[in-house]
Amino acid sequence: MKPSSSLSRLLEITVISGENLQENRKQPVKNNAFVNIKTDNSSCNVQTTQMDKEGGSFPAWNEKLIVDLPMHARHLTVEVQCKNSSGIKTVGIARVPTSDFLDGFLPENYLHFLSYRLRDEKGEKNGIINFSVRVKNAPPQTAGCAAAYSRQWMAAPVAMGSKNGSCGVVTGIPVYPGSY
């Protein structure tokens, strides 16, 4: 069995809708809002939704994104931007602590519905973002490691005095699932 990559968790995030998004603080957003989801501060590894062309300041996306969340990540960054004639503008950002959906009291694959306050670059409140998160693959449990991953290691027969005449020793490196 191929061990799953336990360097990250796979999250299924459904970006649902936004509420009360303002542009320039006074005017409501007209249209073309979209959402970026980042798992770290760099710009690589960003997932983006489609633009909601009609939604205005209450856009609805209902779009599913699969996000790779590294094990060490403490936050998910949800950024709402909109595109208008003068370019792309950031409407607001929410930093979602991963502990809000990885809290351990609920089942691992629980469908968490979350809503966050968005704040613009100046730190002012600018609307709310609604989305849901479900962890698609739970990392292997350390307690059950031995039981769950027990398998037989087959030793490869060492070729000795074969017809080909060559003979040698192969060194095998045991692989323990779940440990890196």
Binding site: E19, A94, R95, D100, F105, L106, S115, Y116
Partner: protein, 680 residues
């Protein structure tokens, strides 16, 4: 305007639930619009109540005697069905055609048999006594009475079977059995019975299945007590209409009672109760049992069908649009009397001459056969029936708006260019609250009581915690009873977590979440009585302190709910917090609530005493904004309801009970949001 929804989630939640849902603030009712509509006499429509049918069937295990020309007579159990008692066997031995020996064997808790014969021929019964009755003389031509009683006195209220032996060779008897009819009553708060319905009379049957159904409304927030009385209708009345029958003239066979909640929480919606004899029966140690009554309830299907309509308009003339207003539609129904009742409205779309609105949802049962009127800005209207709208949709054409001119005898209407199109029309069935109950969902009641010092010394009569020796419940007890009495029927194990907060248990520091039962390991008590007893003993065992913090009890309740989800249980939790004061940790409470909002949990906060609860209203999102935690997380649902309990003595309709009315909607909102369907 009640129950009018312009958002998809709100509209859907209105079907099959009760009460008003203001979950989405963006689509909250517009006060100006409401005031306008109210001033024109359009009242809101409140009717999300499901209707139920009943059919009753009586199970009994009376006997039919087969007489065989010979010495042995076999007596068989008649009508043995599920629910009838097993383990009764009889043997009647007819010796020499002169005497009958009745032998029976049965298990210890069953009704015993006594044998009464009338060999004297005087029409009366002679009690045989004992298990076996012997008699002498020929049984032919005499009436034999068999009766079933629970003691040997031999007198009972009903269930008499009369046998007539025709002659020695005959192999069949004429059995004259009961002709039962059931009367259904509702038991009012003062204990009086109000008759609701009567079934038909089933002739000659000890296991009747009645056909007559009764439709009644189900109110989640009240305890609906039902009483069933079965009567044997005398032959002379058989041709009369059942409604005309005088019950005093009939033979009373037995009575059963239950609550409506007990019936609907069963997975097969059918409850079997024992029929007992004796009107003032509660004093008797042994109620005589006369069979069982099975009640079956069914939800009316039509209340579950919703129609989803997407409407669009074309060519709205700008000169008619007020410069500040933006178009929206109101869908109303018009009765024959011309009264217009609004059903729902779309959202407001700004500045659009060909607006397409989000879908609206209509409940078929609300509409019935009435015509629907679609108002645009109340100036123009279109009148169609639901069927016409369906046709408009399939034909893809529009219907013109017109302006009614109210002047003059001729009510002419000016037809306008703008038209209404039905973009989509679809019907679908929505699951209701009762469906989730039938699939096994339970409501778990939890309670947290404020023991802060502001309540006053419990020994003094002016304290909110004073236990009145006359038995009159104090404010805390009143709130527990109001909520607990309704919710207990929806919880199968009747074990309720109960906590106190704001006090110092014996020799300990102040605790903001201690188990009311005094235990350090588990928090549950048994039944409402258990809560009352734990509350009273806690009053003696803790010293009131403070401050008033809700965070810890909310977090405890949230843990229980999370644990239940991890165990894949079908439970929805309801936490009742009773407090006398304003909370000290408003932000921490908000944080705990935001965390808990995504769980199957609802919180009812009842304020007792005279404090100013203005701050508490912030927690109830109906009256304010969505709750926000310190980390910027916002509550996904509004799970809190708050009500101040000002007048404990007053009123039949409890304020707290009106909060309960919203609970089915909250459960439905949680389920529908997550697309959890009831599995049967």
């Amino acid at each position: 305007m009640g129950n009018c929804f312009s958002d998809v989630a709100g509209g859907q939640s209105a079907v099959g639930g009760t009460g008003i849902n203001h979950g989405n603030q963006a689509n909250a009712p517009n006060e100006a619009v409401d005031a306008f509509l109210n001033s024109r006499g359009y009242q809101g429509l409140y009717n999300q109540i499901e209707a139920l049918d009943f059919s009753l069937s009586l199970f009994e295990w009376f006997a039919e005697v087969l007489v065989v020309d010979g010495a042995v007579v076999a007596m068989e159990k008649k009508g043995a069905k599920e629910g009838a008692r097993e383990g009764v066997g009889w043997l009647v031995v007819w010796r020499d055609r002169r005497s009958l020996e009745l032998r029976l064997w049965c298990s210890a808790d069953l009704v015993l048999l006594c044998f009464v014969t009338d060999f004297a021929g005087d029409g009366g019964g002679d009690c045989g006594g004992g298990l076996v009755g012997e008699c002498s003389g020929s049984p032919v031509g005499h009436h034999w009475w068999l009766c079933f009683v629970t003691d040997f006195a031999g007198d009972c209220g009903g269930g008499l079977v009369e046998l007539e032996f025709l002659d020695e060779a005959s192999s069949l008897l004429v059995l004259n059995m009961s002709d039962p009819m059931t009367v259904l009553y509702s038991k009012e708060k003062d204990g009086s019975l109000k008759e609701l319905s009567r079934t038909e009379v089933v002739l000659n049957s000890l296991n009747p299945k009645w056909i007559t159904k009764y439709t009644m409304a189900y109110y989640f927030e009240t305890v609906q007590n039902l009483v069933f009385r079965v009567y044997d209708i005398d032959t002379q009345f058989h041709n009369q209409d059942v409604k005309m029958l005088k019950l005093e003239e009939q033979d009373f066979l037995g009575e059963a009672s239950c609550t409506l909640a007990q019936i609907v929480t069963k997975s097969d919606r059918s409850l079997t109760v024992d029929l007992v004899c004796g009107e003032q029966s509660s004093g008797q140690a042994h109620a005589q049992k006369f069979g069982k009554l099975t009640v079956f309830a069914e939800e009316s299907i039509s209340s579950k069908t919703t129609v989803e309509l997407r409407l669009r308009c074309s060519e709205l003339e700008s000169k008619d649009l007020f410069s500040k207003s933006d178009p929206f539609l109101v869908v109303s129904k018009t009765t024959e009397g011309g009264i217009v009742v609004p059903i729902c409205k779309t959202e407001v779309i700004k500045n659009d001459h060909s607006p397409i609105w989000k879908p609206v949802f209509l409940n078929i049962q609300q509409i019935g056969n009435w015509r629907l009127t679609v108002f645009l800005l109340i100036v123009r209207k279109i009148q169609k029936s639901l069927l016409d709208l369906e046709k408009l949709h399939s034909a893809g054409i529009g219907a013109n708006f017109f302006v009614p001119t109210a002047v003059g005898p001729k009510q002419e209407s000016k037809v306008l260019k703008s038209q209404l199109f039905v973009e989509s029309y679809s019907e679908k069935i929505q699951y209701t609250f009762l469906d989730y109950l039938a699939s096994g969902y339970e409501l778990n009641f939890m309670v947290a009581i404020d023991f802060t010092a502001s309540n006053g010394n419990p020994r003094l009569p002016d304290s909110l915690h004073y236990i009145d020796p006359s038995g009159r419940p104090n404010a805390y007890q009143r709130a527990i009873l109001d909520v607990g009495e309704v919710l207990q029927f929806y919880d199968t194990d009747k074990r309720f977590p109960a906590w106190g907060f704001g006090a110092r248990p014996i020799d300990g520091p102040v605790s903001h979440c201690f188990n009311l039962n005094g235990s350090s390991s588990y928090c549950e008590v048994e039944g409402i009585q258990g809560i009352m007893m734990a509350y009273m003993s806690a009053l003696h065992n803790v010293s009131l302190a403070g401050p008033t913090l809700f965070g810890p009890v909310i977090t405890s309740a949230a843990h229980i709910a999370s644990q239940s989800l991890t165990n894949n249980e079908r439970k929805y939790f309801i936490l009742l917090i009773i407090t006398d004061g304003v909370i000290t940790d408003l932000q921490e409470t908000k944080d705990a609530l935001v965390q808990a909002a995504d769980l199957p949990l609802s919180i009812l906060i009842v304020g007792v005493g005279g404090a100013d609860f203005k701050e508490m209203e912030i927690l109830d999102a109906d009256k304010g904004e969505r709750l926000e935690s310190t980390t910027g997380r916002v509550a996904v649902r509004d799970i809190v309801q708050f009500v101040p309990l000002r007048d404990v003595q007053n009123g039949d309709v409890s304020v707290v009970r009106s909060l309960l009315a919203e609970l089915p909607s909250q459960l439905l909102e949680y389920m529908r949001f997550r697309k959890i369907q009831p599995t049967f």
